[in-house]
Amino acid sequence: MKYVDEFRDGRLARVVRAQLEAEVEPRRSYRLMEFCGGHTHAIFRYGIQDLLPAGVQMVHGPGCPVCVLPVGRLDMAIEIAQRPEVILCSYGDMLRVPGSGRRSLLKAKSEGADVRMVYSAADALALARAEPDREVVFFAIGFETTTPPTAVALRRAIDEELSNFSVFCNHVLTPAAITSILESPEAREIGTVGIDGFLGPAHVSVVIGSQPYESFAEEYRKPVVIAGFEPLDVLQSILMLVRQLNDGRACVENQYTRAVSRHGNLRAQRLVSELFERREDFEWRGLGRVPYSALRIKDRFAAFDAESRFAPAERRARENRECKCPQILRGAAKPHDCKLFGTVCVPENPIGSCMVSAEGACAAYWTYRRHETLSLKA
């Protein structure tokens, strides 16, 4: 696969690794957060943390839209799905996530709800055209990468006056989430847990560009390197962050130049702002309420907004008090610091958001490195 295989070259990886070894300052610690779940996945998949010098630690961020979706919102989706006239279309990621009372979309399906997995919003749209007597609701989740596809489908539905199609919108915003981490109590305290730099999400940046991260670099003096997803990209980006930190610089660098520009995809951005607007605040699982961090469909298009159409009951589920996800998501704790990890909380029975999706920090540790993590707990 072109533009994929070349960036998985073991020989080139060894070289970057050697450079890291050479340039990491002895006795200095570098705490780098990879914001995006896709990076967490890549790091674990290729065992990249095994390749990093001891001083470099990766902290796993909250960039996993499945993980941070509040339980209450999932409950609303399940409620909508249970209406006999509704076909609820969802990406595979959400189907097994447990909501309140251990219900999930898949469980609701086994009880008779018409829940269907789709690969694309376009599939949901096609379904709505094919089934005019049913109400097709698209369960939209994701960061800025996934929002433009929803926008295209929504635009089509509006233009075609497809009256049986609506979107249950749970799209969230990356810069707001990064701010919330930087503003968190742990991150601000000097001398305790902090994050020195960020590996920025590549595909979100294809859409939003590198420009939105400039304020983090300036205001918080934290370097950001926008990193591609292949192992070579990740290693090279880590090296770029280490260099910035060694030089005392804090700016936004783009490692993923083959697809990311400063301004991003303007067409996509325009379409999104045509149809969506920011919610004043949104409850993130693990991060709490974050202002201006999520999108809703504009009132003008309320007919296509599943929340207006079906008015599902707003719920607030309570999280387990022992669950350390809030600290883990902000980089203030590790999975093995949590009492529930690996005991009560496992991928088949996730208690908190970090275990819910395969790329949440706890799920990744459990799936890929549990033998180490469990011995750390002992």
């Binding site: 080139l12 970057v16 896709g38 595909h203 996509a268």
Partner: protein
């Protein structure tokens, strides 16, 4: 968080859809978000939509830089006593 892959455009279907090829697997994807898609170029595909394109020369530059560093290091190791 975003699973997206670079795939080659093999055929334009109309001004909003095209067929892409990734390692021999072909799929129809929507090009509404990218302007002036051309056959033979590489697009970044996420959930069935093209979000952007791969800049071939930038990709080559990134690899070339890595390759240069590899050669430099290998030379260095070759000269090490």
């Amino acid at each position: 968080m975003c699973l997206a892959v670079p795939a080659r455009v093999t055929r334009l279907i109309d001004d909003e859809w095209c067929v892409v090829d990734l390692g021999g697997v072909r799929k129809d994807v929507c090009t509404a978000l990218v302007e002036e898609v051309r056959e033979g170029e590489y697009l970044i595909i996420h959930v069935g939509y093209a979000l952007g394109r791969i800049d071939a020369s930038e990709a080559e530059q990134t690899l070339a830089l890595l390759e240069l560093q590899a050669e430099a290091r290998e030379e260095l190791e070759g000269y090490a006593p």
